[in-house]
Symmetry: C2
Subunit: 331 residues, 2 copies
DNA sequence: CTGAAAGCGCTTACAG
DNA sequence: CTGAAAGCGCTTACAG
């Protein structure tokens, strides 16, 4: 009945007819359904015909029939970690792909006026780096999203600092090694979701403690609202000589403010950033930073998502010690 | 048969039963199907029951039955324009949402090893800022993607510089106004997709020409490979006094190299960036830049996608003159 | 070891 | 003006 001139995309029925088997058998072969032992010759015939016809399963039909979409929706908060984020995501997507899932990313803004993507995409899991807001959780429940990570139902949420502690530890150790004994931690404006910043600060704090140093005071260091200028003056007046920054932008703001205030970097104030973004190498003076193996982190997060999907237990601790120090002019 | 304890998501059948109408009528009311005149009281009853039950149509079923997914897949290249990009996307998503579409973004890397998202998502259109590579087009065709933008089949591709000419024009005008008569254009490393850079360069070129200035030489200005250092020396030796940069990162690289080479900014070399990113305000000296109204551009792109989807003609020229000059220390 | 059949939740001609 | 029915392309018990 269909127009012969329309190059209709082949369906499983077409493959079945070409291979001389039933439609169901095609599904069993191509999905490697466990518990089905299809003869080798049949399998090969099906696979060959599928390849020859360029068969691709229809995602909507699979989702409808199977009750799952094989989509992992990764919600990215509005954070300043662009450069590294892409590498995480690419690596995570690879791991998930091997497991038969597609990774879709979704940048959700705090002031967002758009509807969340989980309303239309029906992902099997919504995965976030930070806990979701109560109204977001409610919306996901209404949409019938089967899994949420971090799971709001779980008493003790997964501690993301397990995955991010290596960098802050190196920052503190490096400042310590070059002789700084009074340290501070510089972070971004409080308007941004503070989840990752808190985790990194905690990790820095813990390492400082283990070195016998006093606690690191936390300061917002922004070049736009004058807080960076205030911070450097306070550090000078209170004898702080080393600053670990949440990321390279924060470090740049701190160094910029110090230079303008006549404070010599690194002689009077050493500052180290995090993420080793292009900005770090470009800034004058160039910024020491922490280079992160993004592939390891990407794999870590993908593994987390797959464990949730399969109902397997989450890891208690993480050995992603793939951070390395990049020393430049600012320390 | 289903477990009563499972809070099953309501379907159109549930709504139909609750409202005392047929399943089809529910669809007609909720989709406002043209050509169907449902009585007002019936419509209201259906809508009320749908709201009461918290009904949400199943996307997979709609896609399967309707033959379209109502998904717009926006392919973002691996470009350094993060800060502004998010605002574009948010605004475009809003416009598309009003038209019943969901916007999904997909960052496709040149060296990407992951499978493209259009294989699993079945979008109604794949929308890119730059033309797609031949193998990408072939892959989309195989997947049965009905629309591609920019359309590879169309003889003359849509000229994206229609949308981006205002910024470069302002850059050149500003340098001209402060007395620079020998200008150059600084761009990013050639490894990056040069599409947007070319469009901006063309626009700058055109405006310089209209001012009676000689053509702007194009230089890659990267802080990593030494090209920035080479460029500033060449500019000094050839009497270039004003540089329009592709974006703020490029401008930062140029200014950084100039400072290191002992060239005074802006007295000997004025540099203006583009996008007005945080980096521009933070850099020492702070960078003049172009602030772009991202909402206008987002709406422009959404309109483009909707025209393609509906088969309506594309606009021939664009009046998105929403760029403004932000003057700082570097000019 | 393999296949016939029901069903997922919609849309859309078609018939009244 | 409204509804009964077929069908989209899969998955998955179930029966042989």
């Amino acid at each position: 009945m269909s127009d012969a001139s329309t190059p209709r995309r082949p369906t499983a029925t077409d493959v079945a007819r070409a291979a001389g088997v039933s439609r169901a058998t095609v599904g069993f072969v191509l999905n490697q359904t466990p518990g089905k032992t299809i003869s080798r010759s049949t399998s090969e015939r099906v696979r060959d015909e599928a390849a020859r016809l360029g068969y691709r399963p229809n995602g909507a039909a699979r989702t409808l029939a199977g009750g799952r979409s094989r989509i992992v929706l990764l919600v990215l908060p509005d954070w300043p970690m662009e450069h590294t984020l892409r590498d995480y995501v690419e690596e995570a997507a690879l791991v998930l792909e091997d497991a038969g899932y597609s990774l879709v990313t979704h940048t959700r803004r705090s002031d967002g006026r758009t509807r969340p993507l989980w309303e239309s995409l029906h992902p099997d899991i919504v995965f976030g780096f930070a806990p979701f807001a109560p109204d977001e959780v409610a919306s996901m429940r209404d949409c019938g999203i089967p899994k949420i990570f971090p799971d709001p139902a779980r008493g003790e949420p997964f501690d993301i600092s397990l995955a991010v502690s290596a960098g802050p530890r190196l920052q503190v150790q490096h400042l310590y090694d070059r002789g700084c004994r009074s340290l501070a931690y510089a972070t971004w404006a409080p308007a941004r979701p503070p989840f990752l910043a808190e985790a990194r600060h905690r990790a820095a704090q813990a390492h400082a403690h283990s070195l016998g140093l006093p606690p690191l005071g936390l300061r917002n260091t922004d070049h736009r609202d004058g807080s960076a200028d205030l911070a450097v003056r306070e550090w000078r007046d209170t004898g702080v000589t080393g600053v670990a920054a949440f990321n390279d932008e924060v470090a740049a703001a701190a160094v910029g403010a110090a230079v303008r205030a006549g404070i010599r970097v690194p002689e009077e104030l050493a500052v180290i950033g995090h993420d080793d973004t292009p900005l770090a190498a470009m800034f004058v003076p160039s910024l020491s930073s922490i280079h992160f193996s993004t592939t390891a982190l990407g794999r870590f997060f993908a593994d987390l998502a797959l464990r949730e999907l399969d109902g397997r237990p989450l890891p208690r601790r993480e050995a992603t010690e793939n951070a390395t120090l990049v020393r430049r002019e600012s320390t």
